[in-house]
């Protein structure tokens, strides 16, 4: 089964998984190899000396019937394992089949399965087991296993059903239909393989549960008749007062074996769980927490903090970001998502921060808010807002600055509203967290004004988020972000989920509110058009570094960095229909960035120096640019006529087109 290997592909075998397999392997090996060393038949009959403690002749002693305990263990262990495996397989098998069919086909089948499984789940399973076990004559191992299984299928049914429901709606089942695959084929070839790790984990869990349940029953004397299992051995030990008599060799070995099986299966299911939920495996590498306590440096002239007009100015800026460094450290590697970014912002300035996905825009926003989560951390630099380095603050101090000094309108902001709180209560919470003395009357006034400012009627305060349209929700988050009149607003793609008409209205409102507050604003986005409409200045991020920064009109009038130019040109315009222009290739992955200029593999102008030397920001034509073309050149040269960029696209005189397309 070649695909089975794929389930576990690229998963480094975790220590727990290996340990679990080793323990179980030892138990199985013991019961398989045992008969070779112990004369099982003879030993079981007994008639040797009864109740002997362990000796060289009987390694585990004998019971009161004179049976060799080692032989009993060799016989009992596989019986217990067999019972657990049968019960687990049958239980999960039923659950898998019903869950798959109910989830995929829905309708009446789904309803019937759900009603039955839900009602059975309310019945106390162990009580049913006891009743059945106590009343069935001549109970066998298999019957015992089936009894346990009949009460163990409901949970897997429910979980698998809900998993299938979520996958059924996923795009690839629709693609499979378009590819001509039939429904059952989709269920078994497309959906089920993705459930395998989960199925394996729950199978192991079910085996474990079944073993514990049967051992429990058996030790009460409710087990299969005339069979040695680990549970019945405990029962007989109890019956003959082995515990009182201090005959530990009678009850000790079965308990030890059960414990080993339990631990082995537990570790195994834990290891499988990690494969089923990759998020558990991508936990950060453990590292001692080192909280940076840097002292606030006196405001000194930063080396390369470029403001919008190209010069470096330190004094009248509201925000100065200085060599900001955000490092992500995971098992996959170490990389700087924000790598030495410096810039300044005047009070009231609107800056657009632009770049492709994966260039560090959102990480930048979180870093400014001091909200970088593990596995990332801020590794250096300063974020000086109104003369105060935010990165040097304690978390408790920073919490007081958020919203009041610096506010974030996050991406998909509509989801950042609390769905079970009225807008009024969400605003109230925000205000009281910072100004607890505010009276009810003042609150009402503040809230009404805040909502009015963002173009919402006061009645919106009494509504829940789900009662609002997308644009209104975005306005509500804007009201929360601005109600405490912060000095800096960071808007991270605030309109990416909105329609174009609503987007324009929301952005115009943001522009007005920002102007009234006099707050500086950083608008993060990948839509160059939106940035152009909103911003006074622009910063272009590539692979964690600022590559061009300057006044918006200056930069858009003639971008000097090749990346900026290609970004602008990749936007289709409404003036002329022309060939499509794109940027070939992709931004480099975080953990594998090229040496020299990070853009060189995609750059049509790259020359030898770009491969080895990292460019720094320098003044070029009224803005800052990090590119080796300067200062030798004044402007970007015209695009080379045909450059094969080594990726999958050929660049042809200002246009990119499919590699094999012949240019006339």
């Amino acid at each position: 089964m070649h695909w089975l290997g794929r389930v576990f592909r690229s998963q480094r075998l975790s220590a727990v998984l290996v340990l679990g397999v080793l323990i179980l392997g030892a138990v199985v090996a013991f019961s398989m190899a045992g008969p070779a060393f112990v004369d099982v038949d003879k030993a079981l009959v007994g008639a040797v000396q009864p109740s002997q403690p362990p000796s060289s002749e009987f390694l585990l002693g004998t019971d009161s019937q004179g049976r060799d305990m080692l032989a009993v263990m060799v016989v009992a262990t596989p019986q217990t394992l067999k019972m657990g495996v049968i019960a687990g397989l049958v239980g999960i098998g039923i659950g898998l089949l019903l869950g798959l069919l109910a989830g995929f086909f829905g309708g009446p089948l789904d309803t019937v399965v759900r009603v039955i499984s839900d009602s059975l789940m309310t019945v106390p399973g162990i009580a049913i087991l006891i009743i059945i076990a106590a009343n069935v004559e001549s109970m066998s191992i298999e019957l015992m296993a089936l009894t346990v299984a009949s009460l163990a299928w409901m949970n897997p049914t429910r979980t698998i059903r809900s998993q299938v429901l979520s996958i059924r709606e996923r795009g690839y089942t629709a693609v499979a239909r378009a590819n001509g695959q039939r429904e059952l084929e989709i269920l078994f070839r497309e959906i089920m393989p993705n459930l395998l790790p989960y199925i394996a984990a729950s199978l192991v869990g079910a085996i474990n549960g079944a073993i514990l349940a049967t051992v429990g029953l058996e030790s009460l004397g409710l087990g299969a008749d005339n069979v040695h299992t680990l549970g019945t051995t405990i029962y007989w030990a109890r019956r003959y007062s082995a515990i009182l008599r201090g005959q530990w060799w009678w009850w000790g070995p079965p308990i030890a074996l059960i414990s080993l099986i339990f631990i082995g299966l537990f570790l195994l299911s834990m290891g499988l769980d990690r494969i089923a939920n990759p998020t558990l495996a991508s936990l950060p590498r453990w590292r001692p927490r080192r909280r940076k306590r840097r002292t606030t440096k006196p405001v000194e002239q930063p080396v390369a903090a470029f403001s919008a007009n190209g010069g470096s100015q330190g004094t009248q800026s509201i925000l100065r970001v200085d060599e900001l460094l955000v490092v992500f450290e995971t098992q996959a590697g170490i990389g700087a998502a924000v790598d030495g970014v410096s810039f300044t912002l005047r009070p009231g300035e609107r800056m657009g921060l632009v770049g492709e996905s994966g260039c560090g825009k959102t990480t930048m926003a979180s870093a400014l808010m001091s909200m970088i989560r593990s596995p990332g951390h801020i590794d250096g630099g300063a974020v000086v807002l109104a003369g105060e380095d935010l990165l040097a603050l304690r978390e408790s101090e920073m919490r007081r600055r958020r919203l009041k000094e610096i506010a974030l309108m996050p991406q998909a902001a509509m989801n950042s509203l609390n769905p079970v709180m009225r807008i009024r209560d969400q605003l109230t919470d925000a205000i009281l967290a910072h100004e607890p003395q505010t009276s009810q009357q003042e609150l009402t006034t503040i809230i009404t004004t805040a909502l009015e400012k963002v173009g919402l009627p006061a009645s919106v305060a009494e509504r829940y988020p789900h009662q609002l349209s997308g644009g209104m929700k975005q306005r509500a988050t804007m009201a929360i972000a601005t109600v405490l009149q912060p000095k800096l607003i960071i808007a991270d793609e605030p309109t990416s989920a909105l329609d174009v008409v609503v987007q324009r209205q929301v952005m115009m409102t943001l522009a007005r509110v920002q102007e009234e507050l006099g707050a500086a604003t950083i608008l993060i986005g990948h839509d160059m058009g939106l940035i152009a409409q909103f911003s006074d200045s622009i910063g272009v991020l590539y692979a964690g570094q600022l590559v061009e920064r300057g006044d918006i009109d200056v930069v858009l009038d003639g971008p000097r960095h090749p990346y900026t130019r290609l970004l602008v040109e990749s936007l289709p315009d409404m003036e002329t229909r022309k060939d499509f222009v794109g940027i070939p290739g992709l931004p480099p992955p975080l953990f594998n960035r090229p040496a020299g200029c990070r853009f060189h593999p995609r750059c049509p102008f790259a020359f030898e120096r770009c491969y080895r030397e990292e460019p720094v920001l320098q003044d070029v034509a009224g803005r800052a640019v990090a590119c080796h073309l300067y200062p030798e050149h004044n402007d970007l040269p015209p695009l080379p006529s045909t450059v094969n960029l080594g990726n999958d696209v050929v660049l042809t005189n200002g246009t990119t087109s499919a590699a094999n397309e012949v240019q006339p």
């Binding site: 306005r475 174009v500 289709p572 315009d573 999958d648 087109s657 094999n660």
Partner: protein, 340 residues
């Protein structure tokens, strides 16, 4: 003209709300158009969320039954097709979906979605023929087979995945491709290659394409004709260049004015009054756009205006143009133009 696809007065309603306050939303409201099979074109369906464009796409793919009207593909009513005809129809009308990440089963290499259609529809005689077809299709959308095949979806970018999806549709040898927002989840810098791939399919292989999008700019770049939808109805239609560069319907005008342009000389004008609080989705007797229209007059609230043919290749459903003749049968193909 011989018609490939004919959509006649197609309507779809959805019921919503609790039983005692059932509301009906008209998702698609009497839409009629036809696509020629002689000169296959790229036709844009443009609208915001809730305009009914995705519902229309689902009906054209045969995944959703219209409540009224019919969809006729190559002379056969889709609703009356036999199982065999339906299987053939499924091959000939291929979708490309919005999300290039969800479209791939993470369990399989990307080859899986390319070999499956050849196998299921019996389009390749041998493994070698299948491999050749796959290589050709990938190269046509600008991908190098050697760098694409044998990989898992997560090893490729959104743009590359979406181009594989275009190649997949191509392998089915379709007559019509319905591309529902194929580039909206892809970085702007990567959109170009996908759209160029769609254009190649249309221009060089003669596959008709219905390009469903909210983005007027890209539809202007790729489409021959467009229909602008609002609340289930087509409010403006015709040659893409004319409709988008000189919109006539107030809604299209609003849409075009809202596009953020990189050109700083075309700044957005002043903030408008915010959008209507409760977006009127209930059946309005008059023009659906009237509640948001700055030109709305008394007559706009009386009846939904029909499409008026304002020029050879355009029509708008607005009383501002009522001196023009009503488009006969409201069938939009009359104003569609050929390839541009």
């Amino acid at each position: 003209m011989t018609t490939l696809l004919e959509v006649q007065e197609v309507t779809k309603r959805f019921a919503n709300g609790p039983l005692w306050r059932r509301d009906q939303t008209v998702a698609v409201d009497h839409v009629s158009f036809a696509l020629s099979s002689e000169e296959p074109t790229i036709t844009g369906v443009v609208g915001e969320s809730g305009s009914g464009k995705t519902t229309l796409a689902l009906m054209l793919l045969g995944n959703l039954q219209p409540d009224e009207g019919q969809i006729v593909f190559r002379g056969k009513d889709v609703a009356q097709m036999s199982a065999a005809e339906r299987f053939q129809f499924r091959r000939e009308v291929q979708p490309i979906f919005q999300d290039p990440f969800a479209a791939f089963n993470p369990f399989y290499r990307v080859d899986h979605v390319l070999t499956t259609p050849l196998d299921r529809f019996g389009l390749a005689d041998s493994t070698k023929a299948a491999t050749n077809q796959i290589h050709e299709a990938l190269e046509l959308v600008g991908l190098r087979p050697a760098e694409t095949l044998g990989r898992f979806p997560h090893q490729l970018s959104g743009g590359q995945r979406q181009r594989i999806m275009v190649a997949r549709a191509l392998l089915c040898r379709p007559k019509l491709i319905i591309a529902d927002e194929p580039v909206s989840m892809v970085d702007a810098s990567l959109r170009a290659t996908i759209l160029a791939g769609l254009q190649t399919l249309n221009r060089e292989l003669g596959i008709a394409i219905l390009y469903i999008t909210h983005d007027l700019t890209t539809s202007y770049q790729v489409c021959d004709n467009v229909m602008v939808m609002y609340a289930g109805s087509v409010v403006e239609t015709g040659a893409a260049g004319q409709v988008i560069r000189r919109p006539e319907h107030p809604y299209t005008q609003l849409l075009v004015a809202s596009i953020p342009s990189v050109d700083r000389s075309k700044r957005w004008e002043d903030e408008e009054s915010s959008e209507p609080i409760a977006h009127a989705r209930r059946a309005i007797t008059g023009c659906k756009f009237a509640p948001r229209c700055r030109w709305a007059a008394e007559s706009c609230w009386q009846a939904m205006p029909p499409l008026y043919q304002t020029a050879a290749h355009r029509a708008a459903a607005c009383v501002l143009y009522e001196e023009h003749p009503v488009l006969e049968g409201q069938a939009m193909e009359q104003v569609f133009q050929g390839r541009q």
